[in-house]
Amino acid sequence: MARVETFYEVLRRHGVSRRSFVQFCSLTAASLGLKPAFAEELAQAMQVKPRIPVLWLHGLECTCCSESFIRSAHPLAKDVVLSLISLDYDDTIMAAAGEQAEQCLEDVRREYKGKYLLCVEGNAPLADDGVYCITGGRPFVEQLKDYAADAMAVVSWGSCASWGCVQAAKPNPTHAVPVHEIVRDKPVIKVPGCPPIAEVMTGVISYILTFDRLPELDRQGRPKMFYGQRIHDKCYRRGHFDAGQFVEAWDDDGARQGWCLYKLGCRGPTTYNACSTVRWNDGVSFPIQSGHGCIGCSEKDFWDNGPFYERLANVNLFGAEANADGWAKGAAAVVGAGMAVHAGISAVVRLRDKERHDTHLPPKGGTP
């Protein structure tokens, strides 16, 4: 096996200067909410780490996850694909086809056994031995099992891979099932959404590369950093909800003033996602900001919790704070011990733990 380049070497090879590299580390640290001192540790870690080979499989899906991924503004999708990971198989963009494409899968599995990341977009239909999705002449479910077996970990992109999504909505005619129902012996990170936000997708990938471990997951297997709070918790229209100012009909006066969309069926109060904070397409907007309620696309079985325009029952008007922390209990155990693939990681973990510990201390002298 050829020596695997480190992350830093790759960046340098792509013409990134030492100065820009350090800057990149500072920004990354900042965007993860870490203190400036952490940037140095990050830089150190990244200089000794290799690029991770990634195999990106497609089952029954609509490719919205791939399309979302290439919209990423920070980091740019171009930089992720060409510099941060080695995207050795992705049938949506790869040059090779047919036998040459299949060969890529085989080669990577052989060369990087246990060391590649398997990203899955879409899911496997199980009905009738999997004939509703055939790729390379065999059922997708077989391909998924094969390449998951030797993967380091699995990323379930989007609601199809995470929950089943639209093809699994009732009556689920093809018996489509999410990835974790097929792959049971590997860590599976769910990144739900239809699609997930671009920067959430690249954020999860860069987290794994940067910290050499899976992000902390909630009990359902989602990264807590992006799926730990409800859209409603951080919605910029929350004030109107609390004030009882609701859009009553499309394009009424309330709509033109940006009032709360709860009465038109908004699922923000029950949906865990980063839409109201990270927002979409480089922060341009998110569904509620553009006048339509959230349809809850990152939630399990959201297609069958409709109709979409029927208002949610049982939403506490005030003090509804039974939030993601409830879900999160026990999540650390799910993550498990397994993800530290490189020896140089301990410093990073130590620092990260220190950061976490710090956040639990009472504020000193009143300054945050």
């Binding site: 995207l87 040059a95 065999r138 009556p171 009909a249 499309w250 553009s290 339509h292």
Partner: protein, 599 residues
Amino acid sequence: MSTTTPNGFTLDGAGRRVVVDPITRIEGHLRIEVNVDEKNVIRNAVSTGTMWRGLEVILKGRDPRDAWAFTERICGVCTGVHALASVRSVEDALGVTIPAQANTIRNILSLALYVQDHLVHFYHLHALDWVDVVSGLKADPKATSELAQTVSPRWPKSSPGYFKDLQTRLKKFVDSGQLGPFRNGYWGHPAYKLPPEANLMATAHYLEALDFQKEIVKIQTVFGGKNPHPNWLVGGVPCSLSIDGAGGVGAINMERLNLVTSIIDQSVDFIEQVYIPDLLAVASFYKDWASLGGGLASKSLLSYGEFPQIAGDDSNKSLLLPRGAIIDGKLSELHEVDLKAQDQVQEFVTHSWFKYADETKGLHPFDGVTEPHFAVGPNTKGDPKKKLEAIDESAKYSWVKAPRWKGHAMEVGPLARMVIAYMAGNTQVKELVDGALKKLDVPITALFSTLGRTAARGLECQWAAHQLRAEHHKLIAGLKAGDSSTANVEKWDPKHWPKKCQGVGYMEAPRGALGHWIVIEDGKIQSYQAVVPTTWNGSPRDAAGKIGAYEASLLDTPMADPKQPLEILRTIHSFDPCLACAAHVVGPDDEEVTRVTVT
């Protein structure tokens, strides 16, 4: 033994079978098999869609106002096209006319998609069929700069240093042995014809386009809240317009309009300074492909028309790109298309993995039936549940149905739209097409080819970028005149709906003619059917044996090396396949999905 199909193509399955599965750089799962003769010329072609999701089965019994969200998820590449066809079908069924400004905003959403989708197709799904990335290592950066400045004098990223830097990075990348998406590509294949300098320039633009495409879709995000999969609304659009008074930050205001203006300006620049010059430069080295890959293109073309200028009016006086059909190669005769006429759009399943009571006949979408029935023929090699070696096209062989227009297999897509608009006398389209033909010094018949299809998409992208600007101006002009209504809610409440009604929603998706047929009863979806562009183009044979556009287009193409199927990729990619779209359907009599058997 060769046979001639009723639509005039000669098939000969005697020679060596070549299989390409997966076809990559497309949406979804597609398998192509061909037979080549002793000179490696393609004499038989078989297009097999290998996925089915059953979305229309899932829609049955649901709220018609929700259908756009379900159907939008048919495809995330041409995101929004199914949503638009869906809301139009419901509005048609209920008799809802949307406000003029909502119509304009829908046009803006769709045109933004055209621009982004065509651009991404050219660079990221198609370019590697023509551009040898590795050859760019041999380029002289100075000569590359001269080439870039010649084809595109106004584009700033064209200095020798720019290309030198890219080349250095490219060299290190290739030397590392970790080629990522370029791994195992067809580099050095004899069918690559570009000089190293053109390869290097195109590689630079591949990367620039990847960065830029994400800007274009922000237009959809402004009006629809996110991309992919923006939000739509039966009766109009969900966003409100508010340029005056309190609360403008909760609606489309001046800042939002300015953002859209700025993106449109950048898009026009990118298309005209990068995409079109690259397209013409690449095409000039591949003129042999102006006589290959035509298939149905010179015979049968179909467009439902798009971009209504009058809300709710889908007649050709309203549609910017006209509706019509060309058959039997008679270009000057444009046939009227009626999506509700029982004898026009029909689907056959003789060679599809579905079952009809009488498979010699086609069914109109309002009467459509979808009963999946997976069964392969006796001459199949291998087992599709383990490893399929070769499909038997004499039996059922695809998850894609075979739609026909008055019995004709049709090609749909940018080429069909451009030719139909050209023949209907659209001056903007005529100017663009004539200009490109003149620059390349090729006759109009060159359009009916692999190269023509690819060129038509680029020209349409340019047209769309300008039209996007025009629609945005119209939106602003409407606001100036005091029109800020974006939704008609008169029939929002199901209590205003008839007990039973049915409607059709048309849409010209980037990939071609798309139709949704809905039947509503007691406020619920009783039947839903989508006939999509890739169903037309990727169609298998029908009851009479007529072959579809993909299959026809591959015939008579010589391959340099059948083990390296670059020629197949070129022609198939020129259609921009979208297999998830080719998903299907439930009819009024369909109760549940039946067991699937392998014979």
